[in-house]
């Protein structure tokens, strides 16, 4: 297996968890760049090319809400879980816990 195919497999694996990871960090308001750094601190590397379109998509799905704020002379877009997102997050976490225990048994 080439390096590239292996990397693709890893990417596929990670792709599944990104949404949950992102949602879990947005219980309080964050702007895009602070979110990336926050995830990086937890060793989850995420590319801007992936994150920002994802945030838009999640917002259009009603899970996030955003607003523009001017800080230090510059507008920034802040994202946060919407009401629906807050209702959904615990269910997603539960689902994830189920998957983890399932995989533990399989592996």
């Amino acid at each position: 297996m080439t390096n590239e195919s292996f990397d693709n497999l890893i990417l596929e694996l990670r792709r599944g968890v990104i949404v949950l990871a992102v949602l879990s960090q947005l219980e309080k308001e964050q702007y895009g760049y602070s979110l990336i750094n926050g995830l990086r601190e937890h060793n989850l590397e995420i590319d801007q090319g992936t994150l920002y379109p994802l945030l838009r998509r999640l917002e259009s799905q009603g899970l996030l809400q955003s607003n523009w704020r001017i800080e230090s002379d510059r507008p920034r877009r802040y994202y946060m879980l919407s009401n629906e997102g807050r209702k959904l997050l615990p269910r997603l976490k539960e689902e994830w816990a189920g998957i983890v225990s399932l995989m533990k048994k399989l592996l």
Binding site: Y52, P53, P75
Partner: protein, 348 residues
């Protein structure tokens, strides 16, 4: 100035974005880039300069790539429409091929009297076929590209297999129990092929519609050259062909949509009814035209060599075309009533 660089970059990305979300995304990217540059300046302890901005922009990625992450893949004809496109293409090529074969047959038949033109005739027939195929292909691709664009704008979600999830899979479909809302595939395909054949014939091969009055003269004179082929329909008739073609084209489009969806909705039912009404109105208008037939008695006389027979045949033809129109109207009305009835019962 580095802000100018960022602005230029942002508008390069924005250029490739759909109008609705462009300003919003541009503002977001600008804000992100400014944050990135600031952070780098803090980390390195150096002030923001052009070199630093260029570095950040390089890491962020080429404008096309960035824009693509927001728009997703664009297809001329995407995976959800492609199967239908392929189906339509096959049907169309089949029809054109058949008609071309008929046309070639007629050309060969007519050239028996002029063997010196044989090569030219065959060449012309092949060229004709080639042109029809190109035109048909071009039109079909155009129609499907427009549908793809429309679906893209509407944001129809595509599931894993590339088909829009519209209806739930019901195994009862297998027992062929026809629910009132189910589209009858067979009927629809036949109608589509019929409309397409009509469009091709009346627009590209009108000369087919005619007849050879009699082969009597052949036997009398012993040569094939006196076989005459008389086109049946007059200019007045062909005046209506564009309108008919429009109705046929729209019927084809509607049927493609129906085949795709698999079931009727109010919208599709109403559209069908409107198309049928339109068709009936055209047929009525055509009835009012005095002469749809291009033949006239003297021409028939010279072809048949029999005045009385010519007159009878002439009357038959003129009346025949009108009768055909009336039958079409009556059939259309029955069809219309059925469609309305189905709509009313389905709504309940």
């Amino acid at each position: 100035m580095s802000t100018n660089l960022i602005d230029t970059y942002v508008s390069e990305v924005g250029r490739r974005l759909p109008g609705k979300t462009r300003t919003d995304i541009e503002a977001e990217i600008r804000s992100i880039l400014q944050d990135m540059v600031d952070e780098r300046s803090q980390k390195t302890g150096k002030p923001v300069d052009e070199e630093m901005t260029l570095q950040v922009l390089k890491e962020y990625g080429a404008p096309e790539k960035v824009a693509a992450t927001y728009t997703g893949e664009r297809y001329l004809i995407g995976p959800r429409l492609y199967p239908v496109f392929a189906l339509v293409l096959r049907i169309v090529l089949l029809v054109i091929g058949t008609l071309a074969a008929i046309g070639l047959g007629i050309a060969v038949y007519q050239m028996f009297g002029h063997p010196q033109n044989a090569f030219e005739t065959i060449l012309k027939a092949i060229a004709n076929f080639g042109t029809s195929v190109m035109t048909a292909l071009g039109n079909i691709v155009l129609i499907f590209a427009i549908m793809e664009w429309a679906l893209f704008r509407a944001g129809v979600k595509v599931d894993v297999k590339g088909l829009p999830q519209i209806k739930e899979w019901d195994p009862r479909v297998l027992t062929k129990v026809s629910t009132p809302n189910q589209v009858k595939m067979g009927e629809t395909i036949v109608e589509t092929v019929g409309c397409f054949a009509a469009i091709v014939i009346f627009n590209f091969y009108p000369q087919i519609i005619g007849f050879t009055p009699s082969l009597n003269s052949v036997f009398e004179n012993g040569t094939w050259s006196s076989v005459s082929f008389i086109p049946l329909l007059s200019q007045a008739f062909f005046h209506y062909v564009p309108f008919l073609s429009l109705v046929w084209s729209m019927t084809i489009i509607l049927n493609i949509v129906l085949l795709r969806m698999g079931y009727w909705t109010i919208l599709t039912r109403v559209s069908t009814i409107c198309l049928k009404v339109f068709g009936i109105l055209i047929a009525f208008a055509m009835l009012a035209v005095p002469s749809l037939v291009a033949v006239n008695t003297p021409a028939l006389v010279s072809a048949l060599g029999d005045a009385e027979g010519a007159r009878i045949l002439m009357t038959l033809l003129t009346q025949g075309v009108r009768v055909a129109l009336r039958i079409t109207i009556i059939g259309g009305c029955i069809d219309l009533i059925r469609a309305v009835y189905r709509m009313v019962t389905a709504v309940k």
